[in-house]
Symmetry: none
Subunit: 218 residues, 2 copies
DNA sequence: TCATAAATAGGGGTTTTTCCTTTTTTTTAT
DNA sequence: ATAAAAAAAAGGAAAAACCCCTATTTATGA
């Protein structure tokens, strides 16, 4: 059987059950073929380094433990700009959508979409180069018109938020520094900055603030 | 083609893409057949009320918006006790696992399992009536041996609860000791006892535990 | 480009937390 | 009344958190 003009897809998702299932679903789409799967961005890099064939489209999960969606997409849009990346996410978080698109995602799909929608999105992204749902178009429009929510975001910086979330675990600051690949002294700097900004005294205050403001779930 | 002895499965998951994909995956398992899918427990009830065929096994997602996994499983084990329910979850949270099993789940699977594992779990649950992974067996064993966390209320003593609540403020242990009119060394004793009982490493764990178990409000 | 701001990182110190062991005091049950 | 159990307290020490100040290094904008 000829495989000419079959569109090649790679799935990057740490939930093997989902990835495998999705693979079967895509097998039912004519003209599409799943080349292989990866559990995270780092694994994808390994595949690439082994000179495995490159896909036309990557279906990318956002929440992954090792090399997460954002890191992966940043690398991809840098190193392999002509591979279209469709982000698959559980949440329709405005911030997250924006980050992904800014980093080079060609589309953002919620995991509760209809399978037909995925097929459509795949076709669109191959044809037009991007696929944005109506909802995302609305968000993008809001941003252009300056209607977005600027305030909350400006208080805490990117890395401070990452630190804040990690501070809500039982990890030591040293361990957090390792995870964020930063010096413990830098982490200590974030801590002092947050204590001052949020007017708190210690790590308990940090945890309470994070929970109250939905930076972490309990 | 005969469908005699094909095991009937129903998928309950609000992520349509996952549910549909999973359906395709199960189609590749010989001897299994997906009857239909539902987006949540309420939808499943509707299916049942319409006298649609009942499945042998239900694959149930935990996190659903309308009628969540726990509610669904409680209803099922009450109204349809001979339908085996396999819970599919993202997280391996001990509390959650216990709640599910107490409510009548016949198995608990993480979404990052291997597809073959799912097949195995389906076979096991049909054959033996249950399927527990090693990890869950460990947890269950801990409970039996009293190592786990059995009853939250009776687990903690009066003073320990008082201390726990105060530990969720920005006060130092010294200050907590003053408030409770006890020696800092006694407070330290409570702390050690709680760390050991609750299997936590530091004060962050204390705060998270207290919030999760409604000892304090946020 | 150059000044400036921001992010990162280091030095070095104090306080608090954490841990392990042991002792004293109080409570409880027989 | 007394042995056993539970609660309170302490000694001593290492690790982590906390704090202030300074020095790079990296972005950024006029």
């Amino acid at each position: 059987m000829s495989v000419v003009n079959e569109h090649k897809i790679v799935i990057v998702d740490d939930h093997l059950l989902f990835a495998s299932s999705l693979e079967k679903l895509i097998h039912t789409f004519v003209g599409f073929k799943v080349l292989y799967k990866a559990g995270n961005g780092a694994e994808l890099q390994e595949h690439f380094e082994l000179n495995k064939p490159k896909p036309d489209v990557i279906l990318l999960d956002v929440n992954m433990p090792v090399m997460n969606g954002l890191e992966t997409i940043s690398w991809l849009s840098e190193a392999h700009p002509n591979i279209k990346v469709l982000v698959l996410s559980m949440e329709d978080d405005e911030e997250q959508i924006l980050k992904m698109i800014r980093s080079g995602a060609k589309g953002y799909l919620l995991k509760d979409i209809d399978p037909e929608n995925l097929k459509h999105a795949l076709n669109e992204v191959l044809e037009k180069g991007f696929y944005y749902t109506e909802k995302i178009n609305e968000i993008l429009l809001d941003i252009v018109q300056g209607k977005g929510k600027p305030d909350q975001k400006s208080l805490l910086k990117e890395n401070e938020i990452t630190f804040l979330k990690l501070a809500c675990t039982e990890k030591t600051y040293k361990e957090i520094a390792d995870i964020m690949c930063l010096s413990p002294k830098t982490i200590d700097g974030y801590r002092q900055e947050l204590f001052s900004k949020l007017n708190i005294k210690n790590r308990v205050g940090l945890v309470l603030y994070a929970i109250k403001n939905n930076f972490v779930d309990v």
